[in-house]
Symmetry: C2
Subunit: 357 residues, 2 copies
Amino acid sequence: MAHANSQVLDVEGSTNGFVRTLPELRTPFLIFLGDVQSNVLAKTGMGVHHWRPERCLGQLRLDGCKADLGLPDMTVAKAVEAGAGSLLLGAAPDGGRIYDHWLPVLREALKHGLDIVSGFHTKLADNPELVALARENRTKLIDVRVPPDAIPVATGRRRSGKRLLTVGTDCAVGKKYTALALEKGLQQREIDAQFRATGQTGILIAGRGIPMDSVVSDFLSGAAEQLTPDRAPDHWDIIEGQGSLYHPAYAAVSLGLLHGSQPDVIVLCHDVARATIDDYPDFPIPDLGACVSRYLSLARLTNPDVRCAGISLNTSSLDECEKREAVRQVSLATGLPCCDPVAHGVDILIDSILLDR
Amino acid sequence: MAHANSQVLDVEGSTNGFVRTLPELRTPFLIFLGDVQSNVLAKTGMGVHHWRPERCLGQLRLDGCKADLGLPDMTVAKAVEAGAGSLLLGAAPDGGRIYDHWLPVLREALKHGLDIVSGFHTKLADNPELVALARENRTKLIDVRVPPDAIPVATGRRRSGKRLLTVGTDCAVGKKYTALALEKGLQQREIDAQFRATGQTGILIAGRGIPMDSVVSDFLSGAAEQLTPDRAPDHWDIIEGQGSLYHPAYAAVSLGLLHGSQPDVIVLCHDVARATIDDYPDFPIPDLGACVSRYLSLARLTNPDVRCAGISLNTSSLDECEKREAVRQVSLATGLPCCDPVAHGVDILIDSILLDR
């Protein structure tokens, strides 16, 4: 993965084995949402704003943008005046590529002295014009979605410590949110737990991780093993899931992460508003019970003792009364603990996670 | 995937969409086997020698090498004298990396005017010393395992034409061999069929393809869709499988290829000599019936009509009488047609593949 220009930019940070730690980012962020058509497609911005609000100053949206973080809208110039340190690319369209018509905003940001932080597959460092502008203006281009080099092939060896992986019926249903909420909840009970980021937004929030979806496929499970090495026996790695086994494009990423992370416990995440896979209307969301069975059955390859602690339900589309009813129905149908972490917290899931202590 | 040096080397060949066609290779080959410990770990050399014997001149083995293609052993100098055009790296150790102690042979080959052809993850073009030597000696470095750039994300859309995918209980059990034998057998019955290569050896044999295991994982199923686009309704794409759903390191590659290639028919390949996954003694080879069920169940996501046409059994470890008995037992146990393509041909599988015409 020779990114020819990366050596001129301070993008390395430190590494702990194969897990890259980001350099200190210049905050606060002006979050650029482009012209994406929903908040789901702005999930990087949404995630950073939710979990690190103190780092977020404003949002910049192009005409026709339908995402909204609830932050003040600002031009680049206004944001710089207000003290912004970086333009953070907060949109996350499918395929993870930066659109050409977004480039004028990126150029403007560099000219105004902002760093740019990106989690896209398209590398800022591969754009000679942006690299030249960054040099000229002594600003930095920070690509977050760069996998480590020379990842070893997975060994399948069982490791010490406890592992939890959030899995999903689809992309963008709450796997990262649930993992972060579980980390917080476990820590509040004085359990030694740490969130392990596997995607660009998670890495921006945690400051470190491995972007699984940009790892070369032969090394995917090996990367997941490196992310969650041997730990103290009572330590919990709370691993952010990726994609879904039911997604026609991304199931391979989900399976490689499932096998390499060897979870002791999975939590299934689901958005009640979804009837079909997002952007794939021919692909129905699976029955939740069948979905749990499939995840467990495939996870047993590397951890025969895996169990499902419950369902994390995204009910943001429902009113309070409907939320309670949806949670009750899912719990009845699957026989598993269920909650909406945003609406009701994750206590019931944590009780279930800690059951076999 | 910026391979900084690739523009100075004639490695591009032409492309048909995202499927790269290799440039004309200088034959015959001196096949370098390094010091690998079995023929399984020399499968690139084995495959090229079996399917393209007219291109193979000799083999070069280091002290302690336990692989043997049955070709005359030659030094680089002897091979050049005998008319060799290229040194082909025929070893295929796990992880696909070129060992440092092999480099003296590579340097010697370039100094003697041979091109080098490699299917390794480690790129020849990323080794400055080899690049300099190739320039000096006007020879070429040809990296076969380079995925196309900017592969689209999979759409999951059904495509016209028929598709067959060989799948496996493990790596290196006969998936490529079976696919090539089926292509040949179908063509002999005047069926319009073409082998689609997904690994470095297959690409060397066919002269084109996409190396699935080196595709970035987000684009794996998309790459499989590009490899097998819309075809004439009666055309068969015979797709080389990769890895195994039961392999702790490579199952993700298998699943991405399964979903993207949308097979109408799968053929399960198995080596009767394997009790556990090669090099993973803690991972048992699955029951064949359960294995067929799992492949079909996961394949149905993108092609609900998929069926299994039969089992391709590698019985190379058995004598003739045992071979027949093994085939009979597997057929009885699974209720599926079964044969050893090397020992008995693939007629019985082809009958089954063409059943629903």
